[in-house]
Amino acid sequence: MSDYIEKNLDHDGVDRRRFLKCMAWAGTGTLCVLQGGVLRSFALSDVLQRKIGNISGELSFVQISDSHIGFNKEANPDVTATLREAIVKVNALPTPPSFVLHTGDLTQLSKPEEFDTLAESLKSLKTGRIFYVPGEHDVLSDNGEMFRERFGQGTQGDGWYSFDQNGAHFIGLVNVLNLKAGGLGNLGREQLEWLEKDVSGLKSNTPLVVFAHIPLWAVYPQWGWGTDDSEQALSYLKRFGSVTVLNGHIHQTMQKVEGNITFHTACSTAFPQPQPGQAASPGPMKVPSEKLRELLGITDVNFVRGKHTLGITDSSLA
């Protein structure tokens, strides 16, 4: 496999239906840059060895995910320690991120003390602000009430919201509530209506970044890795030239480009999960302790206004 993949997208970026799919464990890592309609994907090792020029832009932010504070089983008996290592990694970035997105599963069991530990740990992040969306582990017993009280102040409905930063529009969605028997992740009618309205006034050249816990594309529905009504949500985003979707939930990095939309999933800071279908179930993957940190990590995103550029870098904790 070559170190980089290039794919030409058409001007409107929407009529190319074949998708590019690359998948990399955080141990190797991937950097993706969208420049003037061309998506480029590089091995992180090349970036770190400075084989590639600087891609820094006027906005950079970091995604962290799936901290699972409270988990204490064999796959990683100290998830608070690995979260702290992720924070150290973020704080070591040459440019402090404007903000950090946490894409859910802050906790293992939605317990107050788990939320406390998470919030306390993240206080040491050197960044302007932290935005959150809940994972299914954060809404176990109260439909997310405690999560919203602590991390979702000022949000709409079940906790969705949007904000603008440096010309890009960010949308946090909730797809872990009101799940139906036999189904996948769920956005629901109310949230879809809100989303349609939220983007209706935006110019089509506004870069969009959508983040939610469960992937908004069918990664592996057999394991519940997808969202039932995500197609509906994405249909509202088709007219936009640059859409980036950031998810967590599957504890591994995966990427797909379909038309104008780049999908990306982040690593967990807690424990890895198997590749789709490569185990009996998507449960925590037990790896030798010296391998663990290669499979955990953070995602760093750079945005350059005017060039529609979003560069995505995954770094392992190793």
Partner: protein, 121 residues
Amino acid sequence: MKSKKATWIFGMTAIVVVGLVSMVGTRKIWAAGAGPSPGGIEVKIDNFSFGPMTMAVAVGATVTWTNYDDVPHTVVSDDKTTFKSKALDTGEHFSYTFLKPGKYPYFCSVHPKMVAEVVVQ
């Protein structure tokens, strides 16, 4: 006199025993806990699935679900009202006593791909 006292003691003992039994009975209808499974009819939650997926039991039977996974699961009837466990961590269990015949489909509300059914005859 003696026999009256014996009758009284017997009566009181019976009341206490009936009381205890009914308390236990109540707890069994809606119970969750950790530790060893209370025995009886068991459904194992393992590898993100309920086993067995379909189970036939008699009216009045108590079924106990035990979570053997490293992640929390729930046991929730499809109607979300007949029975609904809290999130069961590893080793925790939940019991429900089925008092009416019928089909009881249920799922894990955290991982809704996990579906199964109890048939009460």
